[in-house]
Amino acid sequence: MENDQTIKELKIFAANIRLETLKIIASIGAGHVGGCMSIADAIAVLYGKVLNIDPKDPSKKDRDWCVLSKGHAGPVLYAALGLKGYFPMEEAYTLNHYKTKFPSHTDRTKTPGVDLTAGSLGQGISEAAGAALGNRMQGIGSYVYVFVGDGECDEGEVWEAAQFCAHYKLDHLICFVDDNKYQLDGSVNDVMSHGLGLAAKFKAFGWNVIEVEDGNDIKQLLEAIDQAKASTGSPSALVLNTVKGKGTFAQETHEHSTHADKAFWDKVIAKAQSDLDALKGEAA
């Protein structure tokens, strides 16, 4: 059981990640706010507490890996990496600018701390599976964490990867399924529903499935990761019941990407700043 202090610190880290994510997206005026915010808390837990990483040595051999198979959520990862000191945060305020190191879809060749390239949905989970197996073949005991979107789970490759991970018993691969209920064209149930549900699907593929009732709750996320790491012999899927856009304006719109003018971004950034200040005030 995590102590209250850790949880408070991680909540503040998550609020900081949300603020920086908005600043990064605002630097180009458009981006995937919704899908970043739904996983901001899980990213905060990983980068604030769980991952064995060294910002000064991003590719150290025994590091834990974090892969955004839903590659369009790049900004939320850049926020965490910047706050951890992989690069000066300001560098990321160049999202999608000419020759930037920060494209909205994660790119291992451009950004320090990005382990694998994604953006063509379905591919990141396969890449993560290869990383997990490659590490195991070399006797490296690190964990590979991978985020897939609920919309992304329309892709057949996700299920090819799912059967592969189970067949090869990749118990050092932990998949966060961001069940935020919306994809680009509307609600997942309207666009392409998931039959018995994503938890049932991963179970049927032989995974250890942990359903996280509130996927934006720090405490529940920490407990679920502990459970996943304790389980051996199969990969684990943490099905996160999340809110698309959580903690921002996008919580109401559920939109896949947001295009707005500077005045709008100034307003939402000020709100995120005051949310962060309030949490810090509570903690003090």
Partner: protein, 323 residues
């Protein structure tokens, strides 16, 4: 690079695929980072030998090529050296996006082995007959594309690839084929082999077309026509120096490939020569057609790829020099 030419138009008792498997056996023995990844076609490529010797490093992904390709790229990111085998039809059409993004764009070069190139798919028929596979790989920036002709060349190139970090695609003939090169021959990726040096026309060929070109050479020689036969087994990066020199020396070209001419060796040759030293060029290869089921020999006739077709093309190219 040194070689011996042993072509005498007779079949090799060894299967070409053994050239790959024997090379992998040696490589895996020397280097524990080397992995053979397959898609339920271990039996087809004859990889049981390496599976038995190195069971932990032969990974069967089942009939799920897209995952296999992106997974291989992820494995490369950890420092392993993956070779991925599937039929050429799947290596090209089915996993193009995974190869393009997860491997090539990500700078995680893997080595893709596509079996049964072009008409060598024979009675497996149209659905298993890739005429466009290498063309797809030619479209990928920085890729290496290889079309070897026999056991020895396959064996040498498989070994050379292990030290090459680029994405590569090697078209692997499965069955026994007519040997061109003697044992001990050596090749460099990106360096063509000039097998004969005539000045009337240059035949730029690879794979199964090398034997057909050598046969054409012998017939033409009796008629007083001297041709250069150039084994351009590396389609990319193309050996432009050798190609341009041949065009300058001969003044006309015949390209001969077991592939669609619209997106293969012939078009790569034409691109290079149009920009550097334009000469008349005749194209031997598949012309805007699908595959079909038949014995390879029948298909070579059907798609106008035999030595007789090459002879006609050489004569036409020479005639066009005067126009």
């Amino acid at each position: 690079m040194s070689y011996t030419l042993v072509f005498n138009d007779t079949k090799d008792p060894r299967n070409c695929r053994e050239g790959y498997v024997d090379a992998m056996y040696d490589l895996m023995k020397e280097n524990e980072k080397i992995v053979h990844i397959d898609c339920d076609l271990i039996g087809c490529v004859g990889a049981a030998k390496i599976q038995k010797a190195y069971p932990d490093r032969v990974i069967n992904c089942g009939i799920a090529e897209a995952n296999a390709a992106a997974m291989a790229a992820g494995m490369k990111a950890t420092g392993m050296i993956p070779y991925l085998h599937t039929f050429g039809v799947f290596a090209g059409r089915r996993i193009f996006d995974q190869i393009f993004i997860s491997s090539a764009y990500s700078n995680l070069g893997i080595h893709v082995i596509g079996t049964d190139p072009g008409v060598t798919a024979g009675v497996n028929g149209a659905t298993h007959m890739p005429f466009e596979d290498a063309g797809l790989y030619l479209e990928i920036p920085g890729a290496v594309v290889l079309d070897p002709c026999d056991y020895t060349q396959v064996n040498v190139l498989t070994k050379k690839l292990c030290k090459d970090d680029r994405l590569s695609y090697l078209r692997l003939i499965r069955r026994g084929f007519k040997p061109v090169y003697g044992e001990g021959s050596d090749f460099e990726i990106g360096k063509a082999v000039t097998l004969t040096e005539g000045n009337d026309c240059a035949i730029i060929c690879s794979g199964i077309m090398v034997g057909n070109a050598l046969k054409a050479h012998d017939v033409l020689l009796k008629e007083g026509i001297e041709v250069s036969v150039i084994d351009m087994f590396t389609w990319k990066p193309l050996d432009e120096k050798t190609l341009i020199k041949a065009a300058e020396r001969c003044g006309c070209i015949v390209s001969a490939e077991n592939h669609l001419i619209s997106c293969g060796l012939g078009s790569a040759v034409a691109n290079c020569l149009a920009a550097n030293h334009p000469v008349p060029q005749e194209f031997i290869g598949i012309k805007d057609r699908f595959g079909q089921t038949a014995l390879q020999e029948v298909l070579e006739e059907e798609y106008e790829m035999t030595s007789e077709h090459i002879i006609k093309a050489v004569k036409k190219a020479i005639q066009r020099k005067g126009i």
